[in-house]
Amino acid sequence: MNKKLFYYFTLFFLGFLFGLVCMNLYQMHALDRLYRIQNQLTNQLMDKEIKLERLNESVKKQNTVVIKDLHITLKFDGNILIKDEIEKNIQFYLSDLVGRELTNIDGEMIYKVLQKRIIEVDNKQFQLTVEYIIISEKISIVVKAILLK
């Protein structure tokens, strides 16, 4: 009885290992590609951070207040991937603001860009409603997205 149990257990274990090897062989190219992309993105990020640091230093010397960051808070009850996609869309419309002088920022323009705007993600339409905007060195925007039926 015990011998038979060990036999089946060994069989299961070998099958498990075989499955692991097959799965690894099947997915290894994708994994390697993803690791490569991760490395590339990390390098790009480091490069951009260094550039940003230098820009900040030069801006400080000029004594002007410049928009440094854009913070979008999206209120959306639904799939997190769709939420990310909507956020990416909003980021696309407002990305030009970063780097501009604070005195040149038109708050009403930002409001009009987003208010009642309909965004299409995965063949579904979402309407945006701006709740509030805080304009400082870091622009904070709170937007609500509702699925249109």
Partner: protein, 109 residues
């Protein structure tokens, strides 16, 4: 003669198995450790190639002993056999290495 041929086949497949097994399971370990599996497999391949030959020959010393006997005692037949065994193990390791190497060729990196 038959045993000699059988041993050649043993050496070939053992060294190939050491390479393939080491690389495949090393690849799994790399996946679990969060390292790129294909790159790890290729690195391992190069590292364990020489060890695969040694494992196939059953450790280095008996083989070197036979070489010594062959060279200094004039046992040319034994010497020739050992050389063929080493070559067959080398071929098996190279085959395993090539198989893993060509797997990388499928990649669209």
């Amino acid at each position: 003669m038959l045993i000699f041929l059988q041993n050649i086949l043993y050496n070939l497949f053992i060294s190939m198995g050491v390479i393939l097994g080491g690389c495949f399971f090393g690849g799994i370990a790399a996946t679990f450790n969060g390292h790129p599996p294909l790159k790890t497999m290729l690195d391992l391949c190069e590292k364990i190639k020489i060890w695969a030959i040694i494992v196939a020959l059953g450790g280095t010393f008996p083989s070197f002993k036979m070489l010594e006997v062959g060279i200094f005692n004039g046992d040319i037949r034994g010497l020739f056999k050992q050389v063929i065994y080493i070559l067959s193990a080398l071929t098996g390791a190279q085959l395993g290495y090539r198989l893993i190497y060509y797997l990388e060729g499928l990649s669209k990196l």
